[in-house]
């Protein structure tokens, strides 16, 4: 792997060092588009996507390096940047756009002519619509154009907003970005020496086998899985084994667990602080709400009735366990999570305030470097490394105009001035949300994407009122796409830093393909809507359902009961209480403490506990074996876990897609 003649490369020395090449952009685009189509389908079915960086890097290693025999490490970095830039936006689309379909299919189910047709066909309305999904026509040309414009504008804004933070987050604060580190491990595998290469491959192999074993029911739906498999293939409930109340979540993730474990290991000891927020949220707040009955009496009665119906009794251990499980679910959604979102918000505002000197230093440093470049033309050491700030401003202005146009196309019931105001608010919020998500992924590898979409809806509906629900949804599409694109840009720039890429080349590549992903994902979604009725098996659109439920809290459909209204009105106050704590903690202790603690209250316990286990293992291995062992063995193995689970998920999705198609 090392020496003067690296295996597999021919004639590299005699040519300029390869970075942006046609091969890297074409390969990245093919991989990105293929994964976008697959994960638009998978996201509608399962509710998640896998970022393409690591998969793209692996394929790049095979195609550019092994087959074409000329791919350099930084060239493969461009390939993975392109693939991820295209694929990552599908998350923003599938979380938000299906909401329009779900709303429309509900309206269609209530339409008299549909009821008449269903009756004539001898079917129930739901069954009739499932068989004729084309009757739910939500995306006429104008609305399709509005969504596409909002998504594309968000995609560009996401990249443009985050570029000035590269120096601050990656070079000054040195945030970890575990997925970025894992991708760099793959890119550098060819020259990293036999020990690191062996451990990386070991991690990948273990993770692929493990992920396939936990996906057997997806791979073989007709297989009758034994009870222990059904109970434990998603997560391991340690609390139940220890005999703890069902409202106290002590859960380890099994499906996707190695990704969390590996992410925690790469972050190291610093990530352990997440356990504090998780303990306060999941071991104090949620059980307290359940035990004290801090909920409307009508909700408690509903939960009691549901538990009783499930176990066939209204007392006894089985009833208590079921009731506590249901009540804990309600408390997590309506109390713990909003408090966590509030802490995220407060912590982020404080972080922006505290790190402003670093951001200004970063911008000054970029300006100084560009000035030096213009004064010393021809000296290669002084060539500009960052994109021109004026180019960024132009891009932001044009993207903002596109977002305004999207608002006008979708918001026929709202005045022009209010649409303009909504676009300004959404754009400012998008910048802050980008910072929040980038800090969260930089510190923990987890991102509160759906929380950001929800806050967008709250913000815009509070400005435009109920008639602005569609505009709010369009802005949420834009914010969701922007934050996924922005955090991906930072992950890729971290990878770029570790392999020595030139930042402006990576940034320019990401901008050049930023429009592709949203359009591919949207077209795929429209095509799928012709065959499937979203919200029903197999495309249940879980994230879309969650956002629709949230939207209905703030924009209640006619006939909504007063209890739901009461629950909705309490949520912004939880945001405020959380924000106060997040602001104070971050201002007092720095380091984005409020953001990390808020995120750990927002995430399910299974993710945080598994992640923190990884952090603890990293800490212990550093103490026992030393930092060199961690770098040579631990980090490559952990990176392998991230890569392997990503690869296995892609295989599972392709398999499922092929089965559906044939």
């Amino acid at each position: 792997m090392s020496g003067n003649s690296p295996a597999g490369l021919t004639g590299l020395q005699s040519r300029p060092y390869r970075e942006i090449t046609l091969a890297s952009v074409v390969l990245g685009s093919i991989v990105g588009v293929a994964l976008t189509v697959s994960f638009t389908y998978a996201g509608l079915k399962l509710g998640f996507i896998v970022p393409a960086s690591m998969v793209g890097a692996m394929l790049g290693l095979g195609v550019l390096r092994v087959v074409m025999k000329k791919g350099s490490i930084v060239e493969n970095n461009i390939n993975q940047t392109v693939a991820a830039a295209i694929n990552v936006t599908s998350g923003g689309i599938i979380f938000t756009v299906p909401v329009l379909y779900l709303m429309q299919s509900e309206a269609a189910a209530k339409a008299p002519q549909i009821a008449a047709q269903a009756s004539a066909a001898g079917l129930s309305v739901d069954e009739f619509l499932r068989k004729n999904p084309g009757l739910v026509q939500v995306l006429d040309g104008k609305m399709l154009a509005a969504i596409a414009a909002a998504a594309v504008a968000g995609s560009f804004l996401g990249v443009l907003f985050i570029i000035p933070s590269r120096k601050q987050m990656i070079e000054f604060e040195r945030l970890t970005f575990p997925s970025g580190v894992a991708t760099a491990q793959i890119l550098k595998a060819v020259g990293a020496g036999p020990t690191r290469f062996r451990w990386l491959m070991t991690g990948i192999t273990i993770a692929i086998v493990f992920a396939l074993l936990t996906s057997l029911t997806t791979l073989f739906p007709s297989w009758k899985a034994p009870g222990w498999y059904q109970h434990h293939s998603e997560e391991l409930n340690l609390g139940k084994i220890l005999g703890l109340p069902a409202s106290v979540a002590v859960v380890i993730a099994v499906a996707g667990g190695l990704t969390s474990l590996g992410g925690g290991y790469i972050t190291g000891r610093a990530g352990l602080v997440m356990m504090v927020g998780a303990a306060i949220g999941h071991w104090m707040v949620t059980p307290l709400v359940v035990a004290k009955g801090w909920a409307p009496p009508e909700i408690l009665a509903q939960l009691t009735a549901a538990a009783s119906a499930k176990v066939g009794a209204s007392s006894g251990p089985a009833f208590t366990e079921r009731y506590e499980t249901l009540a804990a679910g309600w408390a997590f959604k309506q109390v713990t999570r909003p408090l966590g979102v509030g802490m995220l918000l407060g912590g982020s505002v404080a972080s922006v305030f505290l790190t402003a000197p670093m951001l200004f230093s970063a911008i000054r440093s970029i300006q100084k470097q560009r000035q030096a470049a213009s004064e010393m033309t021809g000296k290669p050491a002084q060539a500009p490394q960052e994109m021109s700030p004026s180019l960024l401003w132009v891009g932001i202005a044009v993207s903002f105009l596109v977002l305004v146009i999207a608002g006008f196309l979708g918001g026929s019931q709202v005045s022009g001035a209010r649409i303009l105001l909504a676009a300004v608010v959404a754009t400012v919020w998008m910048w802050l949300a980008n910072i929040i998500v980038s800090i969260a992924t930089g510190k923990t590898d987890n991102s509160p994407l759906s929380g950001m979409a929800l806050i967008t809806i709250v913000l815009i509906v509070s400005i435009l009122g109920k008639e602005g629900a569609i505009v709010a949804l369009l802005m949420a599409v834009s914010v969701c796409v922007a934050t996924s694109q922005g955090s991906d840009m930072m992950q890729d720039l971290k990878t770029g830093h570790l392999v020595g890429a030139i930042p402006w080349r990576q940034q320019l590549t990401q901008i050049a393909v930023a429009w592709v992903g949203p359009l591919v994902s949207l077209v795929t979604l429209v095509l799928l809507s012709k065959k499937f009725l979203f919200g029903n098996d197999p495309l249940t659109a879980p994230q879309g359902q969650a956002i629709k439920a949230a939207l209905e809290i703030f924009v209640p459909p006619p006939g909504t009961d007063p209890v739901t209204q009461q629950v909705a009105e309490a949520v912004p106050w939880r945001y405020l209480a959380g924000a106060v704590a997040g602001l104070a903690l971050t201002l007092g202790a720095g380091g984005g403490l409020g953001v990390v603690l808020g995120l750990s209250m927002y995430l399910p316990m299974s993710v945080t506990l598994t992640y923190c286990t990884g952090c603890a293992v990293a800490w212990a291995s550093e103490k026992l074996k030393g930092p060199a062992w961690v770098e040579d063995v631990g980090v490559p193995l952990a990176a392998g876990f991230l890569v392997g689970e990503g690869l296995a998920q892609v295989c599972v999705v392709f398999f499922d897609l092929a089965r559906s198609a044939f």
Partner: protein
Amino acid sequence: MKLVRSSSSWVMYLGMAACMYGGAQWPRPSWPLVAAGLVVILVGIALRRSAGAPTLEVEQIHSADLKRPRRTGSLVEALTSFCEGIETLHNQGSEAELAAIKDRIEELIWLGPERVGSSQEAIAAKVGFSAYAEVMAPLAASERWLNRAWSAAADGHRPECLASLAKALVSAREAEAMGRQRFQGLG
């Protein structure tokens, strides 16, 4: 002081727990409880401030780390030896084994940028974020050029490796000069 500092964190977490307890009440948060939690957080912050700035990282020796160079001397001395290391590597670059260049680059990054980066909180507490950033900007640029030299060496592209080492040296010298101004008196 270390004990006061770690206790202050737990006081802040206690305050957060109180805020969350107040915030979770139905139908509205109990604002007196949230305010009480806020006061506890402020007490934690005051304790933290009274403990003074965190100390600069003290290196721990591990048996498995004998192959790694030790981080010795002050930060300014570390920056100077970082520059010297790159210069030596660049001068020997046209003849040295590419594998040896990669190993030395990893050592230099461990001794320079990673050492300063891992002490960021302590440095910022003593000389301010801006001063830290002024040194870190060229130092991180140098680190990135070193990473590029590593990649080029792994790809067998010696010309790019040497060119990147030269650029790393320019940035490292800038960082050293800035460090002499901003990091005086730091450990």
